[in-house]
């Protein structure tokens, strides 16, 4: 937080030196003040988790003293590693690989399956295309919650498996829609000339469409990854064997089991979110562009 304040101060100083309008300087100052205060409010819960994960449990829940970093150690992390290291509690690395495996298959399977059907809808003529188009548009509005219960009922014999966690989520009407709107906007000329040169639709898709569509592939990757990595409701219904539980479900299980040890729970939270956070900070521009691209305005 201090770096934000410093940055704000530096900027104000720079402006004072350069600009002669005191009104503008004051305006800029309040602009930065506002942003800094809101940033502090937004970051407070995250800071609380980070600091709490390094403090003894007894000192985490202590009013605003929870923010005071003292008696810091990695004991909570060691305790998390020690707790999740047998068959009955599950293995920490296993929760990780569960989440990674399931998210990976959903994202990659989804990129292939959804971009293919979107290309067929956008650029090919085939029997039944118009009907499928209407179907996809109808399904875009259907949130997963609307089918969670019948899906649970139909698949209840396959609980505690991997495929039940990823198979229902690979095809996504929303991803198809994003691909479709992007493909429709691509210039036709190159595709037409490739066709004259004798390239079939499959080849055009692989050699021309995919290389031209990196932004939409990035968007769909990020949006479907965020959904898959955070998945909670379906694993809650389908998985209770610690060997197949994904991370977001396991932290809820850990939180529910007495005694509630806040230090290790926060340490678990940090372990859960750290890799995603690192990816986010590295590819921030892509994250933000993906979310901006998710808006369907009419």
């Amino acid at each position: 937080m201090s770096s934000a304040t410093e940055q704000a101060k530096k900027e104000v100083m720079r402006r004072i030196r350069r600009s002669r309008s005191p009104k503008k300087v004051i305006k800029t100052f309040f602009h930065y003040m506002f942003l800094t205060v809101v940033t502090a409010i937004f970051f407070a819960p995250i800071a609380y988790m980070l600091i709490g994960s390094l403090k003894p449990t007894a000192e985490v829940l202590d009013g605003i003293n929870g923010f005071v970093p003292k008696n810091l150690s990695f004991n909570n992390y060691l305790q998390v590693f020690a707790t999740f290291n047998d068959e009955s509690m599950g293995f920490l690395w296993r929760f990780y690989t569960n989440s990674i495996l399931v998210s990976f298959v959903i994202v990659f399977g989804g990129l292939i399956v959804n971009s293919m059907i979107a290309y067929a809808l956008a650029r090919l003529r085939w029997r039944g295309r118009d009907a499928v188009q209407v179907l996809v548009i109808l399904l875009v509005i259907l949130p997963f919650e609307a089918i969670a219960i019948p899906l649970f009922f139909l698949l209840r014999d396959f609980r505690n498996t991997y495929f039940v966690q990823f198979l229902p989520f690979i095809a996504s009407a929303f991803s198809i829609y994003l691909f479709y709107t992007f493909f429709i906007g691509l210039p036709l000329e190159i595709q037409e000339s490739a066709r004259i040169d004798g390239a079939g639709p499959w080849r055009i898709y692989r050699a021309i469409i995919i290389p031209m569509s990196k932004p939409v592939f990035a968007s769909v990757t990020i949006l479907s990854f965020l959904g898959a990595w955070s998945s909670f409701l379906f694993p809650l219904m389908m998985v209770d064997n610690p060997l197949y539980v994904p991370l977001p479900l396991e932290i809820q299980v850990y939180f529910t089991q007495p005694p509630t040890d806040w230090g290790p729970i926060f340490a678990f939270g940090v372990i859960l979110v750290l890799p995603v956070m690192a990816v986010f900070l590295l590819f921030q521009r892509w994250f933000i562009q993906s979310v901006a691209a998710s808006a369907i305005k009419g």
Partner: protein
């Protein structure tokens, strides 16, 4: 005629069908079939705990959910909670998203730095968000939020039972949901702001319009479609409310945080009453369709005005 038809689909027909098939099969198996199953099951009395098979009940499940004086109040309570939640979250979150986006849409140094922090909660899974806030919301003076309130009110505000007071619990859930979700909306609004032509602002400045005049006469009309989209997705998000409630309050205290999805999931998962859960699912989808149609209507009106 036959030739014309052949050339209409031509060589692409087979490839088109083949390329759509994997997606189509998966959508059918995991979206369409389950939804039809939900409609079908909603006409039955299906119970996991029952010895006998499903019994045809006709509209009995719907009667119990919507009409029966003993079993329907809980559903209406849940629906009311969803509506109240939407009435809090939609204006608060949209307003905050617009405010933050306008503040970030300035040519100042280090703007991206602030944007990072506002967006950060979006990458947190909701289960983790709920658990962090469980501790923020601790009820006595040891709670973080109570500590902060105490500090900033110089001891005037007494500790609040954030999740245990039926009058406050839903508001607390709304608070953490806004924290977790506003970054997403802010980014969409920011993209909308950047689409507004700069000339409009220049023209407004030439007319000596002040900040608020520019905001209401240039920014808001320019954002209209973006705002409708944001409001619709936030409304649907309010209807889907489940994770936070399940982790923090389990629908309590005294049903103050019951929601439609929470009812559906607990009916199926805890009571084993799949018939009732399916009927709730069908009602849920009908509400979502109604909201979406309303959106289409508003957007169409907008186009006609233009």
């Amino acid at each position: 005629m036959a030739k014309a038809k052949k050339s209409k689909f031509g060589q692409d027909n087979l490839v088109g069908v083949l390329m759509s098939l994997p997606g189509l099969i998966l959508l059918t198996l995991f979206v369409i079939v389950p939804f039809i199953t939900a409609i079908y099951l909603s006409f039955f009395n299906v119970d996991f705990n029952m010895v006998q098979g499903p019994q045809f009940w006709g509209l009995e499940q719907y009667r119990r959910i919507l009409v029966d004086p003993i079993t329907s109040p809980i559903f209406y309570k849940a629906l009311m909670n969803n509506m109240t939640f939407a009435l809090i979250v939609v204006p608060a979150q949209t307003g905050l998203a617009v405010l933050l986006a306008v503040m970030l849409n300035a040519k100042l140094k280090g703007i991206a730095f602030f944007r990072t922090f506002f967006f950060m909660p979006v990458v947190f899974p909701m289960s983790l968000v709920a658990i962090i806030w469980a501790l923020m919301f601790s009820r006595d003076s040891m709670g973080m939020l109570n500590g902060l309130l105490n500090l900033f009110s110089f001891g005037y505000i007494q500790p609040i039972d954030w999740l245990g007071d039926p009058n406050i619990a839903l508001l607390s859930i709304a608070l953490l949901s806004i924290w977790a979700g506003v970054g997403f909306q802010m980014v969409i609004v920011l993209a909308g702001l950047q689409e507004i032509p700069a000339e409009l602002y220049e023209a407004a400045s030439l007319d000596r319009a002040n900040f608020w005049q520019r905001f209401w006469n240039v920014t808001v009309p320019g954002l209209r479609n973006t705002l409708i989209f944001v409001i619709i997705i936030t409304t649907i998000f309010s209807l889907r409310l489940f994770d936070q409630v399940f982790i923090l309050t389990k629908g309590g205290p005294i049903d103050a945080t019951q929601t439609v999805m929470y009812q559906a999931v607990t009916s199926a998962f805890i009571e084993g009453n799949v018939g009732r859960a399916s009927a709730i699912t069908v009602i849920f989808v009908l509400i979502i369709i109604a909201i979406t149609l309303l959106q289409r209507l508003v957007l169409r009106q907008n186009r006609e005005v233009k």
